[in-house]
Symmetry: C2
Subunit: 457 residues, 2 copies
Amino acid sequence: MQKAAIPKGTRDFGPVVMAQRNHITSVIKEVYESFGFVPIETPSMENLSTLTGKYGEEGDKLLFKILDSGDFLSKISSEELSNSSAQNLTRKISSKGLRYDLTVPFARFVVQHQNDITFPFKRYQMQPVWRADRPQKGRYREFWQCDADVIGTDSLLCEADFLSIYHKVFTGLGLPTYVVKMNHRKILESIAETVSFGGSFTTLTTIIDKLDKIGWEKVEEELLANGLESSKAPTLKQLLQEKEFSADSIEWLNDNLVDGENKQQGISELQHLLSYHNAVNGEQMNITLDFSLARGLEYYTGCIFEAVIPDSGIGSVSGGGRYDNLTDVFGLSGVSGVGISFGLDRIHDVMTKLNLFKDHKDLGSAILFCHFDELGKNHCLRLANQLRSQGLKCSVYPDKKKIGKQFDYANKTGYRWVIVIGDNEISEEVVQLKNLASGNQIKLTLNEVANHIHEAS
Amino acid sequence: MQKAAIPKGTRDFGPVVMAQRNHITSVIKEVYESFGFVPIETPSMENLSTLTGKYGEEGDKLLFKILDSGDFLSKISSEELSNSSAQNLTRKISSKGLRYDLTVPFARFVVQHQNDITFPFKRYQMQPVWRADRPQKGRYREFWQCDADVIGTDSLLCEADFLSIYHKVFTGLGLPTYVVKMNHRKILESIAETVSFGGSFTTLTTIIDKLDKIGWEKVEEELLANGLESSKAPTLKQLLQEKEFSADSIEWLNDNLVDGENKQQGISELQHLLSYHNAVNGEQMNITLDFSLARGLEYYTGCIFEAVIPDSGIGSVSGGGRYDNLTDVFGLSGVSGVGISFGLDRIHDVMTKLNLFKDHKDLGSAILFCHFDELGKNHCLRLANQLRSQGLKCSVYPDKKKIGKQFDYANKTGYRWVIVIGDNEISEEVVQLKNLASGNQIKLTLNEVANHIHEAS
């Protein structure tokens, strides 16, 4: 006998959770489509040459690698074999891996199909990704990303659209307290210039990215040890404080950053974006400027986004930004893009924690037909068939069981409606429709059922 | 520079194909839900102990295996390493595999969650599966299955539901010429008894399963060489001829099979199923009895189904049947189930071949906003935002390009509607709405746009 179990870090989703997850993806999908994004899908497995080196050294380790099929050892001498490190051997016996995110496969897709694509290309993509991370609360080895990107334009209108998309998705999900933090690569570079940071730019951003978690005092300490002059610390602290995304903030920035190309470009882009943002009532949206934000900085070249649900106790639920060189590695340059990615599993965790899933029952609108004997069962089949053609969801209880058992089943599986068919109902050509939530029962002709259910829901 | 390419046997799906695939899955999903099935999902990877040995020796070879992460060689001595066969080494360095179908994971799911499940459990599941098969036309290494199963009841009402589901899915997809072939394990066993076949039952079924492909003469030849008496050949030939699923056929069978438990049970089940089938106008459905059908016989214990679209030149697009012992291996016995599986990719191939996808354009109802300058672009953003809140799909062209280029873009990407905003439109508070299909252009206030588009589609 084998144990029924699944690999650690992976999960089964039963009907209740599926209804919740489907609710989230359908809200995101609807918003994406309302902005003219169209869907694509890429294979679960990519060549390792496509994936390796794109996510840093740590990322390479977290790739799930697929063993070549057939007699993969035939290419390897036994000497090579016994002298190999795991890493070297992997290269020889594995040429494919599971995708790690949807961004690199998208870049690969764009280059591979560039002759069939009309740019700017607005695609969305919702698929699972895999990471061989140490499983822990809120971190899974298989999880879903819901991405949208516009590639082939540097227009800041796209950034403005994404800010609107954030607002619509989060309010659509009942998460109106969301906050979208925004940064800009050029402003961040100008900040480094303004405080004359002595170390490397990456050192600076790596340290300030921890501001949220460890607080200013510890960040300052680390920065001072890594090349910040103490006289510049107060300025940096001020610059890193969260600010509203407004003309005032941009003006303040303009007054407090040292002049230079980075400042000029950064300020100009923020102003431009703000004008688009205001055109769509951006004031209603919860956007802040947070120059400590540095996620995935390695490939972001312009705006950087991160969305959080405050007080959820769960980290970011979305991130994104503009990248100018994503397709370069596959041989297509000069194509700028911008995109965001929602973490389905994180959003589900947040909504579960905030208790936003009270009413999601998949069978809430469905009818279970119950019966006393074979004659009744046959009659149920006929009636269920007719109601289905009117768009109702129906199921006939398959077995011969006491009515009480059949009702138990309806309750346990989440049916809201039950129809009981006995000899009287057959001869009178009526049905007894019972609302399991209220306990009310009503005698109806079959043609009245659909109306009654629609009115009650 | 890296080549932008994907592993052989896998595919990218662009927006047009995605719209087609989504159409197919949404039809299947809607039908499944109308019969009271609820969704589940299982992880892409299962423990190899769950998968191995379930699909025959050939199946084991076709499993995609995932390399254990980290330093997987540390557990293995270099002597073991250099003396290992690929097969033995695989066992030591890989403990997970990609799922091969949705049936075994479902059986594992049922056993693992048996205490949370109310039986009979009606679930559907639509996910990709992976097989390391030699890629060829119509055979992919990653493909989608769309399964529905009822587990925890032996009622033939479930089989009747599946026959109705076949009818609704295929007619819903515009494939009314479908044929569902049905067999029954007990009848097949009774046929073996009737012709006193000398060889094993598996030998018989393996040979007659090829009837479709190689014809009766070759089947007869093989059977004679493997234990069929030549005097019995004409009887067998008659029994294997396709028959309509009707009371007459069952009566004919009853007259022509030798008495015994298999015959009795098989005939009785077919009669019972027919009575349910007739209750839902089964006469309209294209169901035939085909006793040469023996797919997946190893685990089917009752009815067996296979669906084909004649004249498509493509093999079966769905299969299924009843299994009594599927969960036994995981330690749960006495649980009968029945299910079917649609092959999304096969159905897509058929529909493509039959040219059934003329009208699927994802952006067919969407509007592209075009403009002459920054002022117009800002105005477009504002208007698009308003139309989206009325449920319309809108996109603002992001770049500054000539109007002709913007129209080209709309045409190439499949937009049906274009709105052009110039200075006049801004000052008059109107829009010019152009139907790209007809070429008609009309001046409207913004509030008239939604109505106009709904009426035109």
